[in-house]
Amino acid sequence: MANTKRRSVIKLAGSAAAVASTGMAGILATGRTPAYAQQKTVHWLRWVDFVPASDQLLRKELMPQAEKDLGIKINFETVNGNDLQPRATAAIQSGSGPDLIQAFNNNTYIYANSVVDLTDLAEDYGKREGGLYKYCRSLCSNGKMFMSMPWAVIGGMIVYRKSWFDEVGATSFPKTWQEYREVAKKLKAKGRPIGQTLGHTFGDAPTFTYPYLWSWGGKELDTDGKTVVINSKETLESVKFMQGFWKDGCDEGALAWDDTNNNRAFLSQTISATLNGASVYIETLRKPDQYQTEKGTPMNKDLQHAPLPAGPAGQFGMHLMQSDMLMKYSKNQDAAKEFLKWIHTEKNYEKWFISQKGYATPPTAKWEEHKVWSDDPVMAPFKVAAKLGQAPGFAGLPDQKAAEALSKYIITDMYAKAVQGMPAEEAVKWAEGELKKIYVA
């Protein structure tokens, strides 16, 4: 190791003083770039939020504030939710891309080899905020590491037109699938069907089909987490019921819908109810003059939220979990961690949470008491979404294989095939074959 001489220390100190005092001349004299030219950049990739105000808040207020507080540059990018997985795959394979990528549900397991362990951050976050919900923990941690930092849960509830339900005699929301089907039949007869996608789309399709399956007692796996048990009497019943429900009460065009179609259909008053985050309601609050009922009153006064009805095996929910993966290829891991810490402080996260107006439920218990939930009773059902969710892969773990089944839309396609005319037995058998390819092969 070279010895440091007194002369060289004096020279270096002199140079530093020169930079401070003489600007460009000093830089040229020392041949060193100033510290700010080496500023780190963190690239954060997220979905395009269904609450546009939140993206605006992040872009215009929180990101500039983070840059100021942390001395790093944030490159904030949003894409359609369906494009997050392709972006993650491409980035991992090429070894470059966003430092932080948003993951949905248990997709984190697909990328487990390519992400940085965030256990310290996540556990600390949980401790500070009254504990992480079990649902969120199971989707972000495989028991060995936190593959991602829990961000929020987008609660899936049925948004419905109260007056239209009242008109057909349903003064309270149907409690069971049978009751829901009867109401839906009357609504469809009046040209106001239920709108439910069975398409290949990340949110509204699986968050409907999985809980629906569970509520009938159907499940992908046995409790051993290995044996595929989808081909059961319960699943078959659920598929047969779906065929009738679809024909009797649903908008049959919804087979091709993505997560935005049902919002548009609901807001244009062609459907009476749909499983959704609260984005429809929030949009009607944002533009009360644009979205009015046929009687000329603001539509937001006529909307209610309700959980999915119960089946013979109970009532279930699966809500869209969002988390942020810190990628292994990232050259700015420390800066990205600093940023995650910063955005998850109560002061900063709260601004974003309030802008969501209840559309997103935070992953920790602390926020249950927040005034957002008491300000608007219509949003109250979303308060406990993260608490009550069940993860895909049930009764096994929401692991990589469950994530593969989810991303191949096997459960959703089972119902989609059946409502398109495939006999229920065949549709269930098809799903069993597809699941076995994943779990048994």
């Binding site: 392709p86 290949h200 091709a256 179609n261 259909a265 390819k437 092969a441």
Partner: protein, 309 residues
């Protein structure tokens, strides 16, 4: 003086390198090298990588191990894959026939003299010029299950009483993507065949007319045989492009409903990129190769036969 000067000048012999380049075999090699390097880098290497990937168990972030033909065996037993195979052939076959028919018809019309011919020709190219994703989004709106302008028009005209489920019904969804592909592909056929038509001397048709040939006979016995080489080349390009089509189906249906409109490319994308099963996705992609290879070879042989004739 001149003789003296010549006598005193030494004969300059070309260098060894220059002498080599005078040999046509070496020159050809040198001239071909840049192209060969480019083809090697951008075609042969990715192809080789693709083959190796399809023989492995690679997933996203995991290079996997060598598994021989396991992925292909899995595909053989995959009914979605066979749906994609059938769909690709059906999609390519039907759209190519329509594109050829309509393209030829349009080319014959455009080959006539009329006012504003240049403008019409320019407009005809529009579907081909607009980025596919943009125009397909517009079509997606037109076929939207709820807001379809086509349904609205048919309803207003009293032709339908209930909505047509364009993208939600398996057969109609397939028909819808075919319509868009035909709409987009016809200009390519029309302009290429028009160029072919313009190389045919009008005197041949005139001579046939003088001999008493009717328009249909003039087309069938004079124009068509002369246009056939161009037609075959245009078809070759079109078949390759249509067979490997991706963006149109991805935007319109994403392969749905319930995998009913998947083609090779969209299914490979679904498996490899979305689900992260890179090796299986590569296997789906490569499975396209033998089919396409046979089609291309048959077409090339036919083109050669037509040209020799």
């Amino acid at each position: 003086m001149a003789i003296t000067a010549l006598g005193s000048t030494e004969v300059i012999r070309p260098s060894v390198r220059q002498r080599k380049l005078e040999d046509e075999r070496w020159l050809a090699l040198v001239l071909l090298t840049p192209t060969a390097i480019l083809l090697g880098l951008f075609i042969a290497y990715p192809f080789f990588e693709g083959v190796m990937l399809s023989l492995s168990s690679a997933r996203v972030g995991d290079p996997g191990k060598f598994v021989w033909f396991k992925n292909f065996v899995k595909l053989w037993n995959d009914n979605i894959f066979w749906t994609a195979v059938w769909n690709t052939f059906w999609y390519t076959g039907v759209t190519t026939v329509f594109k050829l028919g309509l393209g030829l018809w349009l080319a014959m019309l455009l080959n006539r003299h009329f006012r504003g011919k240049a403008i019409v020709r320019a407009f005809i190219l529009l579907p081909f010029i607009i980025p596919t994703v943009l125009s397909t989004f517009a079509w997606k709106w037109m076929f939207d299950p709820t807001f379809s302008v086509i349904n609205w028009s048919l309803f207003r005209l009293g032709l339908i009483s209930a909505r047509i489920n364009w993208l939600g019904d398996a057969d109609l969804a397939m028909a819808s993507i075919m319509v868009v592909n035909i709409w987009r592909g016809v200009p390519f056929f029309a302009i290429s065949l028009l160029a072919g038509l313009q190389t045919i001397s009008p005197e041949l048709n005139e001579a046939a007319a003088i001999d008493g040939a009717r328009p249909w006979n003039r087309f069938w016995y004079v124009t068509w045989p002369l246009l056939l080489p161009v037609t075959m080349v245009v078809m070759l390009f079109s078949v390759i492009q249509t067979f490997a089509d991706f963006q149109l189906v991805y935007v319109m249906t994403g392969g749905g409903p319930a995998n009913a409109t998947h083609l090779f490319a969209t299914y490979a994308y679904q498996i490899g990129i979305v689900s992260g099963l890179l090796s299986e996705g590569a296997a789906v992609s490569l499975a396209m190769f033998p089919f396409l290879f046979i089609i291309v070879v048959v077409q090339l042989l036919y083109i050669r036969r037509v040209e020799v004739r």
